[in-house]
């Protein structure tokens, strides 16, 4: 009884969103039909769904999507691993942090994707140039947020550990890293978004496969429905990536989610920093 009520309540809360979504789809479909918009300009939602179905069922999207997923994941892992590892190093060793932190903050203000054509010259049109692109894009936000996180540990706690003669490793594991967790995961969340952008742009420039290359070549055929399907697939990948990072955050830094009020507050503090 209680359960049905809570389901109904959550449904009522979502009502505006459901109505808006249904309305949007209806307007889209009706506009395409009534105004007789050509499918190579704007396909209706039905055509898009069909393209999605055909693309995944008959394999037109399958191979490019696999390529993009592989390149993105490989680059994401390399970039984020290096970012976190070097970020910890720079947080532990003061001169390195002093040297590179402002530099890297400056680099973040630059459009790093501009290097894509040169990467193709260096590494070829295969998957290597995409992996490198993604890795270098993901490195910087992870690095910067890890360093910022390493500075976030409370000085009282650090003093306490120092007083009791705790070793560097011990302090890192028990004080600094837990304090840095929310920063690191914030950086990872940004990296997920950037990773797909990087991969798609690198595929635009020159590629043997991938969804970015597919979208580009489909635009030559004016197959807009399939383009929608490919772009939607990219969006789904992005959403899955983002949700995975959030899940990991909950798993690994569970203490931040234990008291909802407090975690909301700390999130706000983080956002305003």
């Amino acid at each position: 009884m209680n359960r049905t009520r809570s389901i109904l309540a959550s449904l009522a809360r979502r009502m505006p969103a459901i109505v808006a979504g249904a309305g949007l789809l209806a307007v889209w479909s009706a506009a395409v039909r009534l105004l007789q918009i050509e499918p190579y300009v704007l396909p209706g939602p039905e055509e898009t769904l069909r393209a999605l179905w055909l693309g995944w069922g008959h394999g037109r999207l399958y191979a490019p999507a696999l390529f993009t997923i592989q390149a993105t994941m490989a680059g994401l892992f390399i970039g984020c691993f290096l970012g976190v590892a070097l970020g910890i190093l720079a947080g532990e060793i003061e001169p390195i942090g002093k040297m590179f932190y402002p530099l890297v903050v400056g680099i973040q203000a630059m459009p790093l994707i501009a290097i894509a054509p040169l990467l193709v010259v260096w590494l070829g049109i295969g998957i290597e140039s995409k992996i490198f692109m993604v890795a270098q894009l993901c490195f910087f936000p992870t690095f910067v947020s890890t360093i910022a996180g390493m500075r976030a540990a409370g000085p009282e706690l650090l003093d306490l550990y120092r007083t009791f003669d705790a070793g560097r490793w011990h302090t890192l594991r028990n004080v600094r890293l837990p304090a840095a967790a929310s920063f690191i995961f914030g950086g990872l969340q940004i990296s997920v978004v950037l990773s797909l952008i990087g991969c798609v742009v690198a595929e635009f420039v020159a590629s043997t496969s991938g969804l970015g290359a597919l979208v580009k070549s489909l635009s030559g055929d004016l197959d807009v429905a399939m383009m929608f399907a490919a772009i939607l697939s990219l969006g789904i990948m992005g959403a899955i990536g983002g949700l995975t990072v959030r899940w990991l955050h909950r798993r690994l830094a569970f203490w931040e989610f234990e008291q909802p009020q407090r975690s909301a507050k700390s999130r706000q503090q983080k956002a305003s920093r």
């Binding site: 300009v41 459009p111 010259v121 940004i190 798609v200 742009v201 635009f204 420039v205 956002a271």
Partner: protein, 262 residues
Amino acid sequence: MNAARSALWPAAAVAAVVLIWQLAVWYLALPSHLLPSPVNVGRRLSGGLMGGDMWPDIGATVAGALAGYTIGAVAALVLAAVLVELPILDRALQPYILAFQAIPKVAIAPLIFIWVGFGLESQVILVVLIVFFPLFLNSYLGLSGVDRNLLDLYKVFSAGRLHTFVNLRLPAASPQIFIGLQIAVAFSLTGCVVMEFLTGTRGAGFLIVNASNSLDAETAVAAMVVLGAIGVLGTQLVRIIERRVVFWHCNPNEAAAVAVSS
């Protein structure tokens, strides 16, 4: 004095990187179509800037980025304000805005190209789409994160909606809005460059693609340096404006570091 000292370390790091780069090119005898030496890039850069053959491209990119940035910023701020003021619209649209955020916006570039064609318009549209999310998200978080007690206080004194918005919400949100504005600078250049990669006939992105295709790495790297410099200058400019506008709030140094990004 203090500022000079804190600038010393990063300056040393830059010098070290350039030095290693130059030495690597010398000792490994790298061909200049792969990795040009910094000296040659510098020569090409000064030639392009003094001689003026780079200015039209730089101008095209900056114009596209600036137009898209401005439109995107206004649109994001207006939408965030509307959603914060009208909760029902907020509940209706928020999930879709967040879902759209998951799509890498650059993937839409070929679509824009089909719909709008070559030229400045397509560039501006892509830039608007790309800068919209970091700006919207930060504005929204800022505008909705106002202290409840203050809101209640305004309500108790029966302040009007507009009055509350202008005098309470907007000032309280401005630090966060400026974080979005800072992040969006690099994003706007990214959008421009991607469009130029795809359809370019002009612009810094076109310069890079074109030069890479003809193995003229010097020009490509020089154009990248210019883009980087524009990004840094633009971000600094936003920071200076921030310090003027939000003078009561001072954490400009690390704002960009851990911000809510797109």
